[in-house]
């Protein structure tokens, strides 16, 4: 069974001021990510042996509460893949602006952060791809929209890394059985390859136009 992701669209370097930026669309979910770094950092947040990483997730409406859960999840994921030791006493900040939410917001945010980091030329060990699957009574649906995810019983977000195609982070909510999780991993693994292919294709396009 071939996994079915919604259409992926990306624009690199769409903002002038940041060091790297990417506008990532996954179906109707759109996230704008931008990166500053490596830049100077205040003394209190400075770490002598490696760069400090800051992740900010901005919801669409400013009066909504901050999604600290998202920020922490993305920060732990990015900390494992960035070579933070190459730029000690600096800071790398990743800012993610939600533009539109139609399900899988966390996955789209992780993927857009990866693209913005690629664009900024931050040294990384590998790339990441995040996939959400939602589980209803009878079936598993990959990359659901908002309506489908609200109807389902539970959902699981898996983040894969590209070098060994291993899982680096998992978060889930709702009731999940062991078999559900197994199948979700199997599906997600195939879908993550599709996302890497997409990264490759989009970057190729960018370099061929520009060079």
């Amino acid at each position: 069974m071939a996994p079915k992701l919604r259409d992926l669209i990306i624009t690199y370097n769409n903002l002038a001021n940041p060091d790297g930026s990417a506008l990532f669309c996954q179906g109707n979910t759109i996230v704008q990510a931008y990166v500053f770094g490596p830049v100077d950092v205040s003394n209190s947040k400075e770490r002598s042996e490696k760069a400090s990483l800051f992740v900010t997730f901005k919801p669409k409406n400013s009066y909504e509460i901050r999604k600290e859960l998202y920020e922490n999840y993305i920060r732990t994921v990015l900390e494992t893949i960035i070579h933070l030791d190459m730029h000690p006493r600096t800071s790398i900040s990743v800012i993610l602006q939600e533009m539109q939410d139609d399900g899988c917001l966390l996955s789209a945010a992780v993927n857009s952060a990866c693209c913005a980091l690629l664009d900024a030329g931050i040294p990384m060990k590998c790339m990441i791809a995040s996939v959400t699957s939602c589980i209803s009574v009878d079936a598993i649906q990959l990359d659901p929209n908002k309506e489908a995810s609200q109807k389902s019983d539970g959902s699981i977000v898996l983040t894969f890394e590209s070098s060994k195609n291993g899982i680096i982070s998992v978060t889930s909510e709702g009731e999940l059985t062991f078999d559900n999780i197994k199948e979700a991993i199997k599906l997600g693994c195939l879908a993550s390859k599709e996302i890497y292919d997409f990264y490759h294709k989009s970057m190729k396009k960018r370099f061929l136009i520009n060079s």
């Binding site: 370097n13 490596p38 100077d40 006493r89 040294p123 136009i209």
Partner: protein, 240 residues
């Protein structure tokens, strides 16, 4: 093998082995690549390039970076932002300010220091670049000659461009500076940190030259040839 697009985590060992089989040359790993025990991996996204000289091959990655990271020996343009007794602090676009000793100028002594004001632009060479230490700049060559380095004169205009534009302008294949020079009278200094300083007799000419450099980024080889032709056809040299 060159002009392959590589991604972080991509192992280029097989590519290197393929090309290097018979030649038995030394390999130099440049920016964007990292050695890991028995493997060489890319850590940035970009085009893998290589250059062969006498007995070594240099590999590096050409990426879309905008933020400069200091490299020893490169020539950069900096802005003086702080002044001390024996040295000045210079902003060269890296995460940290660089320091430039006042004795590192041609014919400078403890008594006779160069006249540097806050806000001046300096064209300097990077003497030492280390991730754990402050970057040091110098305005003389090893023979204590100035060789074009030093404080840039008044009346110029500085622009910031992506790093690859500067590398492109300085590459041997690029004729843009010469072609503009055949039509206009101007002075130019290109720093590898993405800064270009231009001085020409009138504002109109400066604006035209600046816009030409800003348009270079998105052009391919054919686009550059078109641009050369456009400049040669559009202007005539008037002897004043």
């Amino acid at each position: 093998m060159t002009d392959t697009i590589v991604f972080p985590g991509f192992s280029i060992k097989s590519l290197i082995d393929e090309e290097n089989e018979a030649k038995d040359k030394k390999i130099v790993i440049g920016p964007g690549l990292k050695r890991q025990i028995n493997d060489v991996r890319a850590i940035k996204c970009g085009i893998l390039r290589s250059r062969t000289s006498n007995n070594l091959i240099v590999y590096w990655i050409d990426s879309h970076q905008k933020r400069y990271v200091a490299v020893r020996g490169e020539r950069v343009i900096g802005v003086v932002v702080g002044k001390g007794a024996m040295s000045v602090n210079v902003d060269i676009g890296t995460s940290e300010l660089a320091s430039l000793s006042l004795l590192a100028f041609e014919s400078a002594t403890k008594r006779n220091r160069p006249n540097i004001q806050l806000g001046d632009l300096v064209y300097a060479r990077i003497l030492s670049a280390n991730k754990d230490m402050k970057t040091e700049l110098i305005c003389v060559t090893s023979q204590m000659k100035k060789d074009g380095l030093g404080v840039l004169p008044q009346g110029g205009f500085m622009i910031s461009v992506p790093l690859r534009v500067c590398r492109r302008l300085l590459s041997p294949g690029c004729k843009l500076i010469e072609i503009l020079g055949s039509k206009f009278k101007y002075e130019i200094t290109v720093g590898l940190n993405g800064r270009i300083w231009i001085r020409s007799p009138s504002i109109t000419e400066t604006i035209y030259i600046v816009n030409t450099f800003l348009s270079v980024e998105d052009k391919d080889e054919q686009g550059m040839l078109d641009l050369y032709k456009q400049i040669t056809d559009k202007f005539q040299v008037i002897v004043r």
